[in-house]
Amino acid sequence: MKQKASKKPDKHPPDKHPPDRHPKDKLLREDRIPHIWCPGCGIGSAFSSCITALKKTGIDYDRLAVVSGIGCTGRVAGYLNLDSFHTTHGRAIPFATGLKLAKPEMNVFVFSGEGDLFSIGGNHFMHAARKNIDITVICVNNMNYGMTGGQVSANTPTGAITSTTPYGNAEVPLNLPSLAAACGAVYIARWLSLDVRRLAESILEALLKPGFSFIEILAPCPTAFGRRNRLGSALDMIKLYQENSVIRNGVHPDETVIEEGKKMVLGKFIDTERPTFLDRLSKTSELKSTAWPKKEMAAQR
């Protein structure tokens, strides 16, 4: 179909798709599109990258399962045409742990927001990473609790205005890659929601990698966070994020802290190997004694 250059858009009858379907429709629950996210919301772009990655993995769609929590990002589970579980606030990771351990042949990933995964869910993140449960955790960081109207969260920058910090945030945000590294995640990356291709590549790598993988996606929240901090539209915000970020692959996660005067550091920071929980579980009967401490150590100088 040849496109004509004109001021008027091609008219399609309302609610009818053009003859060819959107290539991502197979993984969408079409009867629920358009979705609830605001115009330009970073979650939408992140979700789009995720679908690209899912298609590229070559994994049978029946073998994939997504678990999400509560919040705007948590609604992803409702739009993905996979076995999808929209669980309680903060508890997506232990739910995914149970699912993965009961059915290890499934490829289970968690797609949820930073408030859900790191405030209420922080404890669970720590331990699943420590155990190296073979799941991928995709975290959209829009720096507030968006769905409930934009309250302060554990990832809100210092000084920012939110609905519960009307005079400015007195807290310091978490450094998520650093936290993930300290807990033992084997794959850690951070991208903007705009970096759709690099993000899709990261998600693909993480899904195929055994062990606990973590990807942070910085996304604009124009309706809540952006509006209160006068950051403009979604487009203005993502351009601001792009101008104020720099890609530094392989850098130590401690250097990725988001703070005043520093550009936001993006990239793939950690990509390493560690035995997963199930790997070690199958070997437990082979251990003759504890790995540490040992009596012989006392004799060493």
């Binding site: 179909m1 250059a5 858009p9 959107h22 919301c41 939408g44 705009l194």
Partner: protein
């Protein structure tokens, strides 16, 4: 299109434009596709869709290089491209 370095065979070879489909009923008028298209193919229209948003339209179809960035970045799955080589 802004290029970091001009390809040596730019004169002889060019990427064929893709067929761009816009699903207007899904669009929320965010403008990401228009802004980040590397070739300036799209522009926001003055028309409204069913929900009152301004969807984009294809202004410069010949400039399109079929990179699919609009398709990838669109948060609403409202735009997609078919490369002519797909046929």
């Amino acid at each position: 299109m802004k290029m970091w370095r001009k390809p040596l065979d730019l004169g002889e070879k060019s990427l064929p434009p893709a067929e761009i489909h816009i699903i207007e009923s899904r669009c929320k008028g965010c403008g990401l596709c228009v802004e980040f298209c590397p070739c300036g193919v799209l522009k926001m229209s003055d028309e409204f869709n069913r929900k009152g948003y301004h969807p984009p339209f294809v202004e410069e179809p010949a400039s399109c290089v079929g990179c699919h960035f609009c398709e990838e970045v669109c948060p609403d799955f409202a735009i997609f491209c078919n490369n002519s080589t797909d046929k």
